[in-house]
Symmetry: D3
Subunit: 246 residues, 6 copies
Amino acid sequence: MRILLLNPNTTEEMTRDMERQARAYAREGTTVEGVTAAFGAPSIEGHFEEEFAIMSFLQTIRARAHEFDGVILSCYGDPGLAACREASPVPVVGIAEASMLMACTVAHKFSIVTVLPRVKPMISSAVKLHGMEERCASIRTTNLSVLDCENEPDRAVRELSEAGRLAVAEDGAEAILLGCGGMGALDERISQELDVPVIDGIVCAVKLLEGLHDYGLTTSRKAAFMAPDPDKPFADIPGLPAVSAA
Amino acid sequence: MRILLLNPNTTEEMTRDMERQARAYAREGTTVEGVTAAFGAPSIEGHFEEEFAIMSFLQTIRARAHEFDGVILSCYGDPGLAACREASPVPVVGIAEASMLMACTVAHKFSIVTVLPRVKPMISSAVKLHGMEERCASIRTTNLSVLDCENEPDRAVRELSEAGRLAVAEDGAEAILLGCGGMGALDERISQELDVPVIDGIVCAVKLLEGLHDYGLTTSRKAAFMAPDPDKPFADIPGLPAVSAA
Amino acid sequence: MRILLLNPNTTEEMTRDMERQARAYAREGTTVEGVTAAFGAPSIEGHFEEEFAIMSFLQTIRARAHEFDGVILSCYGDPGLAACREASPVPVVGIAEASMLMACTVAHKFSIVTVLPRVKPMISSAVKLHGMEERCASIRTTNLSVLDCENEPDRAVRELSEAGRLAVAEDGAEAILLGCGGMGALDERISQELDVPVIDGIVCAVKLLEGLHDYGLTTSRKAAFMAPDPDKPFADIPGLPAVSAA
Amino acid sequence: MRILLLNPNTTEEMTRDMERQARAYAREGTTVEGVTAAFGAPSIEGHFEEEFAIMSFLQTIRARAHEFDGVILSCYGDPGLAACREASPVPVVGIAEASMLMACTVAHKFSIVTVLPRVKPMISSAVKLHGMEERCASIRTTNLSVLDCENEPDRAVRELSEAGRLAVAEDGAEAILLGCGGMGALDERISQELDVPVIDGIVCAVKLLEGLHDYGLTTSRKAAFMAPDPDKPFADIPGLPAVSAA
Amino acid sequence: MRILLLNPNTTEEMTRDMERQARAYAREGTTVEGVTAAFGAPSIEGHFEEEFAIMSFLQTIRARAHEFDGVILSCYGDPGLAACREASPVPVVGIAEASMLMACTVAHKFSIVTVLPRVKPMISSAVKLHGMEERCASIRTTNLSVLDCENEPDRAVRELSEAGRLAVAEDGAEAILLGCGGMGALDERISQELDVPVIDGIVCAVKLLEGLHDYGLTTSRKAAFMAPDPDKPFADIPGLPAVSAA
Amino acid sequence: MRILLLNPNTTEEMTRDMERQARAYAREGTTVEGVTAAFGAPSIEGHFEEEFAIMSFLQTIRARAHEFDGVILSCYGDPGLAACREASPVPVVGIAEASMLMACTVAHKFSIVTVLPRVKPMISSAVKLHGMEERCASIRTTNLSVLDCENEPDRAVRELSEAGRLAVAEDGAEAILLGCGGMGALDERISQELDVPVIDGIVCAVKLLEGLHDYGLTTSRKAAFMAPDPDKPFADIPGLPAVSAA
C-alpha cells in the first residue's frame, strides 16, 4: 500500500526522519512518501502554528491523497484530523491517536512524554476529544523544543527518559508514548532506559493504516467526517491551489 | 469599547445581520465592526469549511485586532478559538461558549438547536472542549442549512421552535441556545413560541466582552493561550498578508 | 439597573466592603445595595452556617427582591442558589458561578484559592453542581479564616498569592479565582504578585447581571427553578416575617 | 438503638406513616421516633420548600439528636445532609442515599420513580452529589404530588408501577427506588406489579443506621462534616430556640 | 440468618481470622461459616490468581449457597461478583463494595489502603465498575504482602496507618478502608492511629446482608445478574463437582 | 507470525468459523490456530459462563501460548483479558477492544450490535473498563442467541442490520461493531445493508497483533499485567493440567 506522511512543519530534515521511521517498520509492499509543509512554522508548538499546519495538510490532501491508500498526520495532538478526514478519499490517521490506540493493547494506562510545557494543553485537548482520558495516566513535559529532539538527540533521550521514569513511578504509567512526531528515532534508546513499552506514533499509524487496508475499512461518511459538498461555491485562498470540493 | 465581529463565511449579508444583532444589544459607547471572510465557504457546515474560516479569522486578527478591545468569533462551534486567543492582543470570545456561559445563569440545563445534522459532531466537540457537557441537555438538529436561516426566516422559526419544544419536553432543557451565528435575528420570534429563555450567542459575546472590558480582564498567557514566539521564523501563506508573529 | 447584594454573614463591615467592590466596577447607572444577614454566623465556614445564610437570603429576597433587577449571593460556594432563584422574581447570580463563568473566557483552566481547609468540600460541591469540574484545575486552601481576609489584608495577600503561585506552577491554573466574598478588595494586590488573571466573583456577578439585564434574560421557570406554588399552605418560621409564596 | 426520624414537612399524618414504615422493618431493640417539621410546607416539592425543611431538621437535631443513636432525614433528595451531619453528635442518613447504597448490593443499575416533574432536578442533584450517576439508570416522574401518595394510594401504586415498568423496559433498571418519603407504605404493592426489587429509603436508612451502630462507626469529622466551631458567636433566628454550637 | 463467607485463597488460617472478624460484629442470631478455597493461591495478588479464586467461589456457591441466607466474597476487589450473583440463590456481597457503600454514610471521600502496588489496578477496576470513583479519594499501597498482614501484624499496623495518614493529609480522605480481606483484625489498632473512621469490608458485608435479610431484598434477576439457563448443556471441569445450572 | 485464537465456548464449529474469518484477512505469513474450550458452555451469554471460558483460556495459554506470537480471546466482552495477559508470554488481544480501537480510526462514534439483552451488562462493563464510553454511541441487542448467528445466518443478518440501522439513525453511530465472536462471517452481508463501516473484532485483533509484532511491542509488565510470581505455591485445579507459574 502507499502511505502519504504529512510533516506539519517546514523543516525538511524532519520530514526525512519521519519517512525513515515509518519505513523502518512498514511491511514489505508498503511505500511511504513524506511531504513537508509549504508554509507555517519550522516546528509546531502552539495552536496558532497548528492552524497553518492544518492548512498545509488540507492543501496536500486535496492535491495528492487520491494517489495513496492512507494518510498520516505526523503532528502529535492530531490537529485538523476531522477536517482532513472530510477532505481525503482515503483513511487518515493521526499519530497521537495511533499511539494511544496501539498502547491500549499492551498497557492499561499510558503516559505521554513531550516537549515544552506550552504544548500540554494541545495534547490534553487531543486526549479529551479522542475520549482517551481514562487510559492516559499523565502528560509530562520537558525543556526540549521540537527542534531540540532533532538536533540534540542525547539530551532528548536523557530528558524524555527521565520524564518517562517519573510517569511510571508516580503516575502509574505502564507504557510511554513519545508525544512529538520528531521523537521516533529515539524510541529504541529511550526503551533501553525504561522497563515499559516505549511507543512512537508514526510506527503505530503505519500499522493501523496497513490493518485498515487489509480489512478494507475506510472513513465513515455518516456524521463527523462527511465529505464537503462539491456543489457549494468556495473561494479558495489566493496564492494557493484550488482545494474546493467541486 | 470597540468590538471586532468575525463572520466565518463569505456571505456579506450575514455579516451585516450579525452586526445588526450585536449593535441592537450593545450598550452605549460600544461599537461593533463586522468583517466577512475573504475566502472559504458561503456558510460553515463541516470541519473542512471551518478550517478556512479559522484561517480567515487569524488573518483578520493579525491585521486588525489591535484596533479593537475585543473580538467575537461568530461561528457556532467556536473553531480556532485557542489559536485566535494566542494570536490576538485583546480578548476573544466564541459565540458558542458565550451562549453556554450566559445560559448557566438562568437555567440549569440548556439545549442547542441548530442547522443540519452534519454540524452536530462539531458542536458536540465544542461542548466537550468547553467542559459544558454536564449543563448541555441535548443538541437538536433540523433540516435547515445555514443560509436557510437567512433566506427563509419563517420556516427557520418554525423548525427551530419545534426543535426547542422537543428539547424542553423530552430532554429537560430549561433554555434554548441558537446554534448558528445567523439565527440571532430570530430570537424574539422563537421566544414567543417557547416558555423558556431563548439565547443568541452574538448578544452574549457582546455582553461578556463588555464585562471583561469593565473589569480589565484579558486572556491569560500562561498555558493554553500563550502568544506565538515572535523570534521563530515563519513562512507565510503565499498570496496572503504576512501574519508571522515577529 | 438596581442590584441587591446579599452578604451571607452578620458582619456589617463585610457588607460595606462587598458593596464598595461591586460599585467600583459597576457601570454608570447601576446601583448596588448590600444587605447584611440578620442572623447566623459572622462568617460562613461550614455547611451548618451556610444553612442560616440561605435562610437569611430567602427572607431578604422575599421581602425586597422585587425592588431590584438582579440579586447577588455573595457567598463563595453559592449556597441556596436554586432556592433563591425559585423565590426571586429577578435573576440571581452566585459569586462562585460568576467567577467561574467569567474565567472561562480568559483561561482554559482556573484554580480557586480560598480560606481554611474546611471550606474545600463546600466549594468542591459547588464546582460539581455547576458542572465546572473540567475547567477547575484545583481548589487551594490557606490558613486564613474569612475574617482574617478582612482584618489582616497583608497576610491575606501573602497567603493567597502563594496559593495562587502553586496553583499555576503545579496544577496548571491559568487564572486564579478568589474563593471568598471578602477577598475582592485584595484582587489588585494579588494580581501584582501573579502573572495570570486574578478574578473576584462579586465583580463578575455585577457584570453578568448587567449583561442579563441588557439582553432581557431572566430565570427559566421550566424545571429546576420553578417558583413556589402560591396556593400551597405554608407555615412561616415564628419570629420571622412571612415568606410564603401566596 | 434509638432512631430519630425527621419528616421534612408539616403533615403530621406523614410522620406517623414514616414511623410505621421504619418500625415495620426495624429489628428488635430499635426504637423510632418521628418528628414533624414545625414550619415550612405540608409537602416538599421544590428547593425553596427544601430550605425550610433543612432549617427544621437543624432545629430538631440541635435540640434532640443527643438523645438518639442515629438520625434519618426522610426527604428524598437528602437536602441539608452535610449541615445535619455537622450539627449532629450521631450519624445521619438520608433516605435517598440509603436507598441507592442498599440497591447497589442487589442491582447494577437502579431507577428512581417519584412525584411531579419539578422534583427531578433536586433528585438529580442528589444523585450527582452522592456520586451515584453511574448506577442510576434514570429518574422517572409521574403526575403524583407528594400528598397524592398519601391520599390516593391506589392511583399512586398504578402510576409508580407504570413508571417502574418503563424504567425496567427502556432504561435498563434492575431495581426501582421509591423517590419520596411518603411512598414506603406502597412498596409491597408496587413490588407485586414489577419483577425487580422495589426499595424504600426509610427502611434502608434504618438498616444502615443499625449497621453503623453495630460496627461503632460514626460521622467523620475530618473535612466535609466537621462540627461547627462552638466558640464562634452566632445570632440565632429570632423566635426559634437557640441552635448555636456553643 | 446464616452467612457463607468465602475466603478466596488456600490459607486456612485466614479463613479462621475472617470468620472471627465477621462473628465479632454479627448480631445475635447471625451465624457465619467460612470456607477456604480448595485450589488456587495462598493469597490473591494478581488477576491470574483472582480467576482461580472466582472458580472456587462458584464451586462453593453451587454446592452450598442454598443452605445460607447470604454470601460474602472476602476478596478485596470483588472478583467474580457478577458471576457469583448469577450462580447464587441468595444475595452475594463483596467486601470492597460493602466497605465503600458503608463508608458513604460517614464520609464524603474515602481512601483505600492496601497491600503491594501490584493490586492497585485490580482495586481500581473494582472502584470503577462499582461506579464509586467520585467518592474514592485514592488507593494507597504499601510494601505488605497479603500474608504479611497475617504474619506481621505490628508492621502491618504501622505501614497501613502511615498510608492512611497520608491519604487523609494529602488526598482528602475522611475515612480509611482496609483493602484486603485479611486486615480486619487490625482495624481497631489502626483506628487508634488515625482520627477518621477505619472500615473493614467483612464487617460491612455482614451488616449489609443482615439489612437485606431484614428487608427481604434479594438479587435482581432482570439484567446483569440473570441466573444461568438451566436447560443449556454445560461441560463441567473434569475433576470438579458438577456446577451446571440444570 | 503465529496466532492462537481461543474460542470461549465448547462449540467446535464456531472455532472453525472463527479460524476461517481470521485467516481470510490475515496477511501472508500469518498462521492462525483455533482452540475450542475444553469445558464450559456451548455459547457464552452470562457472567457465570464467562468464568468457565476464562478458565479455559488460562489453561490453553499456560499450555500453549509460548508456541505463538500472539493470542486472540474471541469472546466479545473480553472476559479475563487482564488475567490472560498476566499468564501469557506473548501479547493478548480481546475482540471487543480490538473492534473498538480499530473503529476509532474510521468513526468518531460507534455502536455495538449483539445477541440477547442479557449480554448487554457484560459488554457495557467491557466498554467501561476499556475507557471507551466516550466513543460508544450505544449497545443494541437483538433476539438472537449466539448459536442463532451460527445456525440462522439469514435471520441474523436481518436482525443485526436492523439494530445497526437504528443505531445509526437514532444513536449517532458512524460505524457498527459486531458484538459476538460468531458474527464475523456475516460482516460483508451486513455491510451491504448499511452505509457505514461494519467491523468484526476477530479481523481487528489479527491486524493489531500483526502490528504489535512488526513493531516489536509486547505486554507491559509494570502494573496491571505483571506476571504471576513463579515462586508462590499454587494448588492447581484437580483434574486439570498444572498451570502454576513456577
